[in-house]
């Protein structure tokens, strides 16, 4: 079970959160079809550290970003979306 560091509530149990996918910026609405195709369907799929979104639905009802190692499941800090990592 993951212990997720919520920037507002502190360390909380994974069961309070739902996963929201990889944290990445989508292209502007008028970007080319290729750019949208790549943004929606192409994945780095890293074997290592990456940033992902979680939603603290059974807590503060806020979105947050955490840095997690995809193989060891270590978590290195959480932050509010939009804040510098």
């Amino acid at each position: 079970m993951l212990i997720i560091p919520c920037p507002w509530c502190g360390e909380r149990d994974e069961s309070e959160f739902s996963y929201g996918g990889r944290a990445k910026l989508l292209p502007p609405l008028d970007a080319s079809a290729d750019a949208w195709q790549a943004a929606l369907h192409v994945h780095e799929n890293p074997d290592g550290w990456h940033e992902e979104l979680w939603f603290h639905g059974f807590g503060c009802n806020q979105w947050l970003v955490i840095r997690r190692h995809t193989r060891t499941q270590e978590i290195a800090g959480g932050r509010a979306p939009g804040e510098a990592s």
């Binding site: 996918g21 992902e52 997690r68 995809t70």
Partner: protein, 417 residues
């Protein structure tokens, strides 16, 4: 290599045993016509059919670990063909048709057991969807039928089936030709069959890089030396993106752990592999009596071959309502495999943008049942230079052309699966 038969078995029983390994480990040569990366069921099946159907025997299967040690040995061994989308219906229908004769074809007992598959509907909407699926399957000549509550109670007397909450059952989809097989034996059978025809199988051989010249594959670099080849097939499931990185190819795939677990052995009680259509929650009983259970992928991407106990609690809570005999059974083992899930949930198979480099990926948690047909179609595509019609719908192009195979209707998010 020994041909297995009743006579050979009798001789083994009577004479002092001369039993050795089923086949010898090969040495890696410096040049092959085809190199297959990944010694799981899919890679070995591809090698076998290349040799058996197309006479291409200068083939190497290289495997970082041991044969069938990845998802081949980590799945829940279910074989079924109850899909709705046109590409999936045809492909998995063909795959299901290959299983009954596989043991004879390979001269190796893969223990295919057509015990049947049962999918339970829990709402009117699901029931309608199941009827549509049963009709699509019937129209395509793939056996599946609807069963009402009376028939379900007769088919599976140990299940608690009724309209009462919290988990009502309104009906089910039954596929009598579906079942299970021994997963390890599938890898071993294909390996032995391929080796018999001259294919080299090298375990403990890791790919370190790919040599690409003018967008053409030239060689595969391994920890056992460089192998020159113009054609390679990458059949490494959850690690597909890692090999793709070596070629600078980006895949529409994310890797997710999927957990499975098994109870202590019980007396025979559950005949068919039975799925609750609540997300997914399924259970089947092995020949040894253990109940093998599995469900959804972990929600978050990753390469850990394990998952959260939360999912085990969720899944067993659902199953126990329909299978009350599980309530006191103890779990013996829990494990995870890492599934390569494409953004539309269907396989990603075919030539990549690098000439000569083919991928057989994206099977997610549909890989085991697809094994014979995936190998068959890949071998055909490589030998003829033309993609086999059954795997045409799984090409890379569909993500830019928009011809998705979105069985779950979930949109471009593998984690919605």
């Amino acid at each position: 290599m020994t041909h297995y038969s009743l006579l050979q078995l009798a001789a083994e029983a009577l004479l002092p045993s001369r039993r050795g390994p089923a086949f010898e480990q090969s040495e890696l040569k410096s040049r092959y016509d085809v190199v297959i990366v990944g010694g799981g069921g899919h890679g070995l099946a591809t090698a076998y059919y290349l040799a058996a159907q197309h006479g291409i025997t200068n083939v190497a299967v290289i495997e970082r670990g041991w044969l069938g040690g990845g998802n081949t040995g980590r799945n829940t061994t279910i074989i079924r063909a109850d899909y709705l989308m046109p590409g999936n219906v045809a492909f998995f229908g063909h795959a299901l048709g290959m299983w009954p004769t596989l043991s004879r074809e390979l001269n190796f007992n893969v223990m295919f057991s057509p015990r049947g598959y049962l999918d339970l509907a829990h709402s009117e909407g699901q029931l309608d969807h199941f009827k549509r699926r049963a009709n699509v399957l019937a129209l395509n000549g793939i056996g599946a039928r609807m069963a009402d509550l009376d028939e379900l109670r007769e088919l599976e007397p140990a299940l608690s089936i009724g309209l009462e909450p919290p988990i009502p059952v309104l009906g089910g989809l039954v596929q009598d030709t579906a079942g299970t097989a021994r997963h390890d034996a599938v890898a071993w059978g294909y390996a032995r069959g391929a080796r018999k025809l001259g294919v080299d199988i090298i375990q403990g051989c890791e790919v370190l890089g790919l040599e690409i010249e003018n967008n053409h594959l030239r060689a595969v670099k391994t920890n056992r030396g460089v192998v020159r080849t113009d054609t390679a097939v990458v059949s490494v499931a959850g690690n597909s993106s890692r090999v793709a990185d070596m070629a600078g190819v980006k895949l529409p795939i994310e890797t997710y752990p999927v957990q499975a677990f098994v109870s202590e052995p019980l007396k025979p009680i559950l005949h068919r592999v039975t799925n609750l259509n609540l997300g997914y929650a399924y259970a089947g009983q092995t020949d040894k009596g253990e109940i093998v259970m599995g469900g959804n992928a972990e929600p978050m991407a990753g390469y850990a071959q394990r998952g959260s106990p939360l999912r085990i609690a969720e899944l067993t809570a659902k199953l126990v309502h329909i299978m009350p005999f599980l309530s006191r059974a103890r779990l013996m083992r829990v494990w995870g495999g890492i599934a390569d899930i494409a953004t539309d949930g269907s396989a990603v198979v075919g030539p990549s943008p690098v000439a000569g480099l083919h991928f057989n990926a994206g099977w997610g948690y549909s890989g085991f049942k697809a094994t014979p047909a995936a190998g068959w179609c890949m071998a055909h595509s490589l030998a003829s230079g033309k993609t086999h019609p059954l795997i045409e719908p799984f090409g890379f192009e569909r993500f830019s052309s928009g011809a998705f195979l979105d069985e779950g209707g979930a949109g471009p998010y593998p984690w919605l699966h």
